[in-house]
Amino acid sequence: MIQHFPFIAVVILIGLGIYACMFKRNLIKIVIGVSLIESGVNLFLITLGYVKGGVAPIYTNAPGTNMVLPTPQALTLTSIVIGLATTALMLSFAVLIYKHYSSIDAKTRRLKG
């Protein structure tokens, strides 16, 4: 059971994120939703890479030649960096929207139809 906890957390995180993106009208909350989805996906990636009793692929410290393939960790790092960039950019758009409309409610918008 205990080994399934990370996957349950992944589902909850992604579900909450999608809920926030779809039903919240505050732009900041939407950005939070996106970063929740992102954390869920990152957690999923890192959980996949966990091997019980695995050895980190550092040649000088490893006892044998059987080491864990570090791909999921590398993927997670890359995706965290990308996530930072997207979150920052989205927040800066929210700032711009606030400057022009004096509101961060998704309902006050001019592009319709």
Partner: protein, 523 residues
């Protein structure tokens, strides 16, 4: 020359990437020098792409393994599967790369006058080159995670460019919408990649395609991938970002965004035909794509009818155009499974791919015309424009060419590809005739839309406020002229174009076994 060819796939991605970050430095010296530098980078990238295209068309798929001593060693000695990042270019990839690079060149040429009086241009050109690097990466890579990274590069740089007019709230609003769709879509892709990695311990598309089982998890991954890429390509029901982004971004950026949505479409095709090519034995996916396509055609055209902002209107027709491509390719995918791929399926795929090329040219030309009108008059509201044909002769001619091409009138390229799509979708069992009827009727409606625009913006008596309007400057006219010339050439000689580049691309798309064999060394 041989050295260049060997390393061409990575150089094509690396050159715009390097150029992007050198641009602000060169911008310090002189703005003119920066423009020349960007154009030089693009010309050189185009030259490399040509070199690669010639080689791929003559010798078949080309692989480039990053970090391997001989750059063709896909599976390292002592290993049973490819672990390195591999760039795999077949005829379809080079076709898409050619489209991206040439449109980027046109965009840069057009920007040199169009954006002249704006500030922050060094960042503008940096983002433009980054956007190009991202698109080329998506088109040339053979690795799923790389695909995700390049997808994010395109969406980040594309969004920043959409919000380029920071003095207007609408641009920020459009950019936020585009970014939200792009990021959530990309995260879906990443989740699907993680699912596939968890099952097969690999990220290489060719290797995954050879191992894929079509289990329940694979189906979830397929749904996520198709959904995300269709979202990024701008098909109905997730099309609402498209008219916003296309309506608010500068015209020179919009044509780059058009090609970036085509790059997402390419990724969709790669997933459906290559990654799942081995196991996709039901017509369901094909039909889903067909339905998305027909809905996009219908919704795009009907929404375009009621618009009164020039570029926003073209944005809605862009949704319809994506629909035509999805229809063509979807018919091909559905026919793969009912055994009639030889009869009309391959032809349908060719029509879809030919339409990708034509769409980039036609919509590109129309957006540039809309940009030229905005440049000269400062307005884009169709109710306020009128009588521009008196003063803007060349722009009017270009608009007429674009109008004829996008609505599929005979001497232009749009006719050639749309005819193939009508012809082949008619033969699909069941419901085929209805599909082609909807497609034809929507094409007629599209003509109506553009005739309305033509009438309200260009015809009529000279208006007082536009008495002293001048035609667009020369570099913008040249940029539009390049596209117009290609539209006419492709329209007059469609057979030559189809035989030289579209047919090999369609064959490469169908032939997933060849793609796998190139990676696995024919095992």
């Amino acid at each position: 020359m041989n050295f260049l060819l060997t390393h061409a796939p990575i150089l094509i991605i690396a050159l715009p990437l390097l150029g992007a970050f050198l641009t602000p430095l060169i911008s310090r010296l002189h703005p003119k020098m920066r423009n020349i530098f960007v154009l030089t980078i693009l010309i050189f990238t185009g030259f490399l792409t040509m070199l690669l295209t010639r080689d791929v068309l003559a010798n078949g798929i080309r692989v480039y393994v990053l970090g391997a001593a001989p750059s063709t060693l896909t599976v390292p000695t002592g290993s049973i599967m490819p672990v390195r990042i591999i760039l795999e270019t077949d005829a379809l990839s080079v076709l898409m790369a050619m489209i991206s690079v040439s449109l980027a060149f046109v965009s840069a040429l057009y920007s040199s006058k169009f954006m002249e009086n704006r500030t922050g241009l060094d960042k503008y050109y940096t983002l433009l080159l980054l956007l190009l690097a991202g698109m080329l990466g998506m088109e040339l890579t053979g690795d799923l995670f790389n695909l995700f990274v390049f997808l994010e590069i395109t969406s980040i740089s594309g969004c920043a460019l959409v919000a380029f007019y920071t003095d207007r709230g609408e641009s920020a609003e459009a950019a936020f919408k585009y970014m939200l769709i792009g990021t959530v879509g990309a995260l879906f892709v990443l989740f699907a990649v993680a699912l596939l990695y968890g099952e097969y311990d690999a990220l290489n598309i060719g290797y995954l395609a050879s191992k894929i089982q079509y289990s329940f998890l694979d189906k979830i991954a397929l749904v996520l991938l198709v959904g995300a890429f269709a979202m990024k390509a701008g098909s109905v029901p997730m099309h609402m970002w498209k008219p916003d982004a296309y309506g608010e971004a500068p015209a020179s950026v919009v044509i780059m965004l058009v090609t970036s949505s085509l790059a997402s479409l390419y990724a969709l095709l790669r997933v459906c035909f290559t990654l799942y090519g081995n196991v996709l034995n039901t017509a369901v996916v094909g039909w889903i794509i067909i339905v998305l396509g027909v809905l996009s055609i219908f919704v795009g055209v009907t929404m375009a009818l009621v618009q009164n902002k020039f570029s926003r209107l073209i944005g809605y027709t862009a949704v319809a155009e994506i629909g035509y491509m999805l229809l063509g390719v979807g018919v091909g995918l559905a026919s793969l499974t009912n055994g009639s791929i030889e009869d009309y399926g391959l032809k349908a795929v060719q029509g879809g791919l030919f339409h990708i090329m034509n769409d980039a040219l036609d919509l590109g030309l129309l957006f540039l015309v809309a940009g030229a009108v905005f440049y000269s008059t400062g307005k884009s509201d169709l109710n306020k424009l009128g009588g521009l044909a008196h003063n803007m002769k060349y722009t009017t001619i270009f608009f007429m060419i674009g109008l004829a091409a996008v609505s599929g009138l005979p001497p232009m390229n749009g006719f050639a590809s749309k005819l193939i799509i009508y012809e082949t979708s008619y033969q699909l069992e069941p419901l085929g005739p209805i599909l082609s009827i909807i497609a034809i009727l929507s094409s007629i409606l599209m003509l109506a839309v553009f005739v309305k625009v033509f009438h309200s913006a260009f015809l009529g008596p000279k208006l007082k406020e536009y008495e002293n309007v001048k035609d667009a400057p020369r570099s913008m006219l040249i940029a539009m002229g390049i596209l117009a010339v290609f539209i006419i050439i492709f329209g007059l000689f469609p057979d030559t174009v189809i035989n030289t580049i579209i047919k090999p691309a369609a064959n490469a798309l169908i032939d997933y076994q060849g793609y796998i064999d190139k990676i696995m060394g024919g095992v």
